[in-house]
């Protein structure tokens, strides 16, 4: 008996050691980033990372001398509008695929499915020409309009709508509710977990867009934060490592906070999507 507890104690210690090593690997880039964001750039470029001249000066510089706040605001507006419109258009499309009977429904659905196999990256050339011809370049709309809906979102919500018990729908039909009312009063509330998941996905996807905004926006007024950080790096401030790290921290801290508090929901939502 004693032998077993001793062995499991050893095992426990081993587990903590492995956990700590893995945690260090994940954390080091964050920690180095945050630490250097507190140091004066002169110390960083001399290579003295153990400097004790800690201050928030880099953050003050980032806030006052770069458009980082504007970039964040742009990203927020773009991601929020994309999210809301995807929630609406994906859910109405999914409703049509599940609850409406019409000719060519399956064919259309497979067309939706097929678009999920086509990478957006392979379509940027004609899409760029399209938005240029529509005079959308360098505006919020260029980063929202192509993503007003998504085949993926429609597919995900369709899977969720299919789980709605048939009795609910029958009851609604007997009540004589219109499709619009069934959609708003029965289907949406019933599938709210999937809607939250889609909301998180679409917001994050939009927030993390890189190639498309880089091609279509040329001014700080509309530039989202991913391309804003790229801009900061390529400007004359390139070697101002302290300020760049501070900007990165300003961008990443809100997402980490959201992730920390939303962790439980994320875990469930993701697995629901992954295993269905």
């Amino acid at each position: 008996m004693l032998n077993i507890t001793e062995q499991s104690k050893k095992e426990l210690w081993l587990r903590y050691i492995v956990l700590t090593i893995l945690a260090a690997i994940i954390l080091i880039p964050f920690l180095i980033g945050f630490w250097t964001s507190l140091l004066p750039t002169e110390d960083i470029s001399k290579g003295s990372l153990w400097s004790t001249h800690i201050s928030l000066d880099n953050y003050v510089t980032a806030f006052t001398q770069t458009p980082i706040i504007r970039y964040l605001l742009n990203s927020f507006i773009i991601s929020l509008l994309t999210m809301l419109s995807q929630l609406f258009f994906c859910s109405t499309s999914a409703y049509a695929f599940v609850f409406l009977k019409f000719k060519g429904r399956n064919l259309l659905f497979y067309a939706f499915l097929a678009t999920m196999m086509l990478p957006f990256e392979a379509e940027v050339i004609p899409n760029f020409t399209t938005v240029r011809n529509l005079n959308l370049l360098n505006h919020y709309s260029v980063m929202i309009i192509p993503f007003l809906t998504s085949a993926f979102g429609t597919f995900m919500l369709r899977q969720s709508f299919l789980q709605i018990p048939g009795e609910l729908k029958e009851a609604a039909d007997i009540e004589g509710l219109s499709h619009w009312k069934i959609y708003a009063r029965i289907v949406l509330p019933y599938s709210r977990i999937s809607l939250y998941t889609l909301a998180a996905y679409s917001f994050l996807t939009s927030w993390n867009q890189y190639l498309w905004p880089m091609l279509t926006t040329f001014s700080d007024n509309f530039r989202p934060v991913q391309d804003g950080l790229r801009q900061l790096q390529s400007q004359e401030s390139f070697n101002n490592w302290g300020m760049i790290q501070a900007s990165a921290a300003i961008v990443v801290i809100p997402t980490l906070v959201v992730l920390f508090f939303g962790q439980h929901f994320f875990k469930n939502g993701l697995n629901e999507g992954a295993l269905k």
Partner: protein, 319 residues
């Protein structure tokens, strides 16, 4: 992840899709006269958007791939398959294809292995485990530009962390981003690090869903931990393993952001992956015909991998 979940979840679910479509057909309800009207009303906006920004550009890209184009991107001379032949016989393109394959395979394997390792070590409920779980999922909140800044500093010659550590131990320093194979290594490491948060969360969820009595039975039988891992955990979560492989593979084929920020395809085109090449050829050199051909090849590769993985999925997965 750079473009987190768009278009990712479908391969797994195709099977259930057909099943469910059938079941709906069976439990057929009254055909409402208004259904057709509502269908157009509910689907119309999505159809318009997808037609303009997904269906049309794919056709247009395919069309352009058979033409030479002028500087505005308009097709000028029909050249049949010569864009394809030129590309597939050009050593520069084949090098880019090889580099992409190396990158994709390395990233996928490392993401899988480390993701499983993180989930396995964090799966047992011990004191303080929630702190580790939170840390492990941390990179999920990191976007591509932030990751690039973190890693550019770590790989920076002379002032970066790695070379400082190396010189502290009197080891030779490496010019990470200016030597071809090291630059590729650096980009792979950064990508895997970025992928881990998401991969961990998915694997962790899958591990939790394996019924506990399997392990209890194995304990009674006196089976070792590693035996349990390879003969219980892995088979039980094989659908998730395939899911993660598919999306990591596809996402890596589409990698652009980290390449643009960290190496710009260099040094010496060592990290000039497929999407970065398309961007360069189309938007920096104005060579739209060739770039369209490359886009078609990329789309075919991604569609093909999705299908191959899906076939494997049907055969090997234990439910």
């Amino acid at each position: 992840m750079e473009e987190p979940l768009n278009r990712k979840l479908k391969p797994l679910s195709n099977k259930s899709v057909t099943l469910k479509t059938q079941s709906i057909e069976k439990s057929s309800y009254d055909v409402n006269a208004h259904d057709k009207f509502y269908a157009w009303f509910f689907l119309g906006p999505s159809l318009v958007i997808l037609s303009i920004f997904v269906f049309y550009p794919m056709m247009r890209t395919l069309y352009l791939s058979f033409f030479l184009t002028n500087s505005l991107g308009h097709p000028s001379v029909f050249v049949g398959f010569s864009n394809y032949i030129n590309l597939l016989t050009s050593s520069a393109y084949l090098d880019s294809l090889t580099a992409t394959l190396i990158y994709v395979i390395a990233v996928s394997i490392l993401t899988l292995v480390f993701g499983l390792l993180l989930a396995q070590t964090a799966s047992k409920k011990i004191a303080g485990i929630n702190i580790f779980r939170t840390i492990f999922s941390g990179t999920m909140g990191v976007s591509v530009s932030v990751a690039a800044i973190f890693w550019l500093f770590i790989f920076n010659p002379s002032i970066g962390l790695l070379d400082q550590v190396a010189s502290f131990f009197h080891l030779p320093t490496i010019n990470w981003l200016t030597q071809p194979s090291w630059a590729m290594t650096a980009v792979i490491i950064s990508t895997v690090w970025m992928n881990l948060g998401f991969t961990f969360l998915i694997f962790f969820g899958a591990f939790q869903s394996v019924p506990k009595f399997f392990y209890e039975a194995a304990e009674i039988e006196g089976l070792s931990r590693s035996y349990q891992f390879f003969h219980i955990t892995l088979p039980m979560i094989s659908p998730t393993i395939f899911f993660i492989s598919i999306i990591t593979l596809i996402e890596s084929f589409k990698s652009f952001g980290l390449i643009d920020l960290m190496t710009a395809g260099g040094p010496n085109n060592a990290t000039n992956l497929l999407v970065y090449r398309i961007y360069q050829d189309a938007f920096l050199s104005g060579n739209y015909g060739s770039a369209s051909t490359q886009s078609v090849i990329l789309a075919i590769i991604i569609a093909l991998f999705t299908l191959i993985q899906f076939k494997l999925l049907e055969k090997k997965v234990t439910y």
